[in-house]
Amino acid sequence: MNARALARSPVMPAAADVEANVAVSVRNVDVVFGEGESAVTALSGVSVDIAAGSLVTMLGPSGCGKSTLLRAIADLVPVSAGEITVLGRSPEEARRERNFSFVFQDATLLPWRSALDNVRLPLEVGGGGAAHAEPRELLELVGLKGREKALPAELSGGMRQRVAIARALVSRPKILLMDEPFGALDEITRDKLNEELLRIWRETGTTIMFVTHSIPEAAFLGQQVLVLASHPGRVKELVTVDLPAQRRLAMRDTLDFVQITAHLRRLLEEC
């Protein structure tokens, strides 16, 4: 890995070109859990390019490996075959460089730390803290101004997930990987957070990959929806969502939106 990175570094234009256009590149990736007879193929021959600055949602039936794909990109799951590059680097290098952040389904806040101290966590570990955003400003960005000192137990589920998003943004990542972050929230809170995520995406210009099992959520958030099929997990189709960039919740009642969700639902039924 190091040798390749060194070999590439003198050729600046090519590296810069890659970084400018493709944030995440997945090439013929297999992920197999276990060995021998008990081996389970979670992903098989997955290839996809995620354009820098885009918001791509990942949709599929349970067991299709959408979370596994996200975790492989985040260097949480090893790849059995194929290659993943994140900003032209291996996932491990990208992780060490803090090129991406991860938001989990559970907020995974440390319960003994205040909201502000939870946002600061990435700056205190793993050699982070070089270039970073101001934690207080991030809490303001996610709408938690005034709750800096609150412990996670004193916050609602939605607020905890907001803190988790602020924490993910503190190291100024180029890519935000989100694994069903709003899956455990009620619909009203989820709608609100969906709108706010779009606002944050516009304001920060971060590339976002967002796993969900909700068809409307996938269509509402995504510029593109990556539909995965299951057993084994593979790419069904990369659907481009033909809606204006400025999305409003009311848009979900329009015919255009319903046609998109209907198309996604048909794709899922074929899986």
Partner: protein, 271 residues
Amino acid sequence: MADIAHRSAAPVQHGLFGLTDRFRDKLPAAFAVVGLIAAWQFVVWAFSVPTYMAPGPLDVLRSFRDDGWTLLSNFWPTLFEAMLGFVFGNLIAILLAVWFVHNRTAERAFYPIAVFMHTIPIIAVAPILVLIFGSGYLPKVIIAALICFFPTLVNMVRGLKAVTPATLDLMRVLSASKSEIFWKVRIQSSLPFLFAALKIASTTCVIGAIVAEWIGSNFGLGALIIEATYNFRSPLLYATVFVAALLAVVLFSIVSVAEARLIKWKASDVH
């Protein structure tokens, strides 16, 4: 004890109303205690129970006045042994738990031995230690330490391991080192488990010291209990038991106050 438990359950009690509320909460317990003592005095008086068999509360009070100095001079050694035993027993248990969590082989090798040692009744071990270490302070401190050791070891191992997989994923994405995970996550999440064990140890270390003093000792509350029993000085015996109980309650309260100061969050509230 009840007071401490109550406060840790509902820490937000401010102002005059909070104070009167707390006073009102305690009233039934106070009445019950006074009532039981009165009943005790009445039974002793009504059935003319001989003092050597069961002294009344007034006899015990008189003993506090007459033998106060004897009680006090025997109180200090027991306090000293119990506290030293508490410190060393828990310290060794905590360090061993840290080692076990970092070294699976060590855990597999020594954990069964620790369990086996725990099954030997402390009263059976006491004479052996007295034979080896004589009748000074050392065997008492060792026995007090031994009795604290096991619950703390078990709880601390559990506490250090009580980190959710999602939190470990988060720390991995942040490229946190093992020692960072230990200091930032494991130690903190083990504290509620540790204090549960320390509260047990705060009372059992007194038991350990007293049991050790029963066997070959001429000082301490344990020795005083034996002496008072053989000489039929029942009021003194009761007074000694009362002092021993008071010692345990004071140690328990100190640990509980420390717990309330250190842990302002509850483990079960947040995932």
